[in-house]
Amino acid sequence: MTETTTPDLVTPTWDYAPAPEARDIVRLSSSYGLFIDGAFVDTLDGGALKTVNPATEEVLAEVAEAGAKDIDRAVAAARRAFTEVWGPMPGRERAKYLYRIARLIQERAREFAVLESLDNGKPIRESRDVDVPLAAAHFFHHAGWADKLAHAGYGPDPRPLGVAAQVIPWNFPLLMAAWKIAPALATGNTVVLKPAETTPLSALLLAEVVQQAELPPGVVNIVTGAGETGAALVGHPDVDKVAFTGSTEVGKAIQRQIAGTRKKLTLELGGKAANVVFDDAPIDQAVEGIVNGIFFNQGHVCCAGSRLLVQESVETEVLERLKARLATLRLGDPLDKNTDIGAINSAQQLAKITELAASGEQEGAQRWSPESCVLPERGYWFAPTVFTGVAQSHRIAREEIFGPVLSVLSFRTPQEALDKANNTPFGLSAGVWTEKGSRILWMAQRLRAGVVWANTFNRFDPTSPFGGYKESGFGREGGRQGLAAYLDLEVDA
């Protein structure tokens, strides 16, 4: 066999120079009020909280923490807007506003992306290429529905519910706001939205866009705050609809809180998705899919592929390649355009991930992180971590970690893969990797998960309904099916 190595040539090292996205496009105020009835106002009876850049622990701004009177005021504004303006407005007119918001998000995309990375810690590549374009896409998609609701399969003239209380998480702050606001507005509802306390800034920039789009006052209200604010909003008697995305624990609390009221509820909660790799998978792309499944957005993804189920006959090869691939991931400054892994969103979340990872070691799984991965000294960071030798009974195979931690389990037959994949209280998503079409269909029909990805993972599209089975929640967001969550279907039934 030919020997082509030329000894006099040395292998170079090629270090990418820092390529930070300019931060000055974002103009931060030192403090932010609440966005109620079309204007930014001070809180009446609330407090204030600080939001920090998780990559540096620098305080970015102080935001209002809405109290009960603020919630009253916001819900009243939303009610008035629903009754007087937005409810009676023809769909084709509502559509114009939604299109306008979508275009404004596109126009201000870089500003949104930088702000999102600052406040959340996610890499600019993701906020720029995923979060912001998808947020705009959700407004575009739902703008198209606004005047076509009669053709959505919910009767000739489906009616809105009224005022929607929406509480969203910190992992995709702008995108989750778009998922919530766009369908609600398209179907004729008005909203009071509460962003997460650690990531309120992009929602407040969205409030600016709402003003810029000249949306009638009160149609969209944004109240910042923590758990107490959220509970006050959800519990407000004049709310017709509650939509929550977040942890299963809080989801259950909300369900208890509003039980016995007229409020409609949709919940999009946690997950512990299985990413199933068969021995006839396209291995190189499967490895990418595993990486994208669990290390996208630092694993702060409810539908993350946190359990890798790999067929035993290829387990060694897949793990070798996965580890080699993980060694090339670039962790660091979220604003650097070459960063693949950003910061953990908060000290609290970092503590949770650290605790669960420690439990994995205690329960006997083998822990691995790339040696090349050096964590910055300041800020909240966690190295990409892979646990092998994980048993179904380990906590890291049962509980949602919501961080860059992958648990690897193996299987021998398709039935075993299916049984293990479904053996979880969650059911949000799953992935299947095989070049055999019939096996994809066989698995997809039997997996108890709201989304099943075949030969890909973590792909989102506003036309595709998203939501969970079991303790991952109920209701769908996106697509024709997602409209149902904001329509009064009992009228026709």
Partner: protein, 324 residues
Amino acid sequence: MTVVVPSAVDFAAVSDLADAGESDAALRRFLHGLPGVDQVGADARAATLATRSIKKQAKLQAIDMAIAMTDLTTLEGMDTPGKVRTLCAKARRPDPADPSVPPVAAVCVYGDLVPAAAEALRGSPVRIAAVATAFPSGRASLRVKLEDTREAVAAGATEIDMVIDRGAFLAGRYGQVFDEIRAVKDACGPAHLKVILETGELATYDNVRRASWLALAAGADFIKTSTGKVAPSATLPVALVMLEAVRDVAELTGQYRGVKVAGGVRTTKDAIRYLVLAHEVAGAEWLRADRFRIGASSLLNDLLMQRAKQATGRYWGPDYVTIE
């Protein structure tokens, strides 16, 4: 049976296949046992790597690497010894005003122009690559292809860029393709062999992967995307699949083979994207001229203009780089 990653034994067995009669079946088993390539996934991975932002010192380094990896190419019916001589002068010293610019890796010409190139490049480190084997179609008898190769080597070519018989490959006559590569490799003697897959005609990434392994098993020193005469020529996902193949062969055998992208690489930005791909898919070990090449004609001038921009902060006008 699923062969997920071929073992060193599989690869050695396939590499040692002797005659086409037996090798067709063995090659089919081997090549069709390779893991498939998911097109959507490969495209997505290439697109993500294309967003890498290479700035400042990293960009300067990339530009010099790209210059040193360039096969400065002229493959036109209107080529003359005079044209080749001017190209060779450019290859030896790409920027007359700046001796710190490295020479290119090779000059790539048709076989009959090798003597002119050899004369013009005497005493320089620039290698002489000749396209052979009835380039670009490959539609000639094996006897003619081998003679084409021997003549180029005798005239001074140190590298041979051959084309595979795509017709035979697509018809499943893998043994024939394998034997031709093996025979041309023998005819090359000391010259390095680059095997052009013409991926634009192979159409699928599965075919690109199979052709890559086939050529590597038959003894190719380099696998090369395209002739430049068929659209599409080099693309990022195709280069990705080929880089995965040389990476895997190196893992199996410890031997480093190269990848050459050719056709359509015109700008510094394009070239840097391919370097990023080589860097992150195969590894830093491939960032050397004996393992990665870019076949191009107009690329060099863009690299020189970008180099000056990085050094001086100003763009040259096109009149400040030479046109060959």
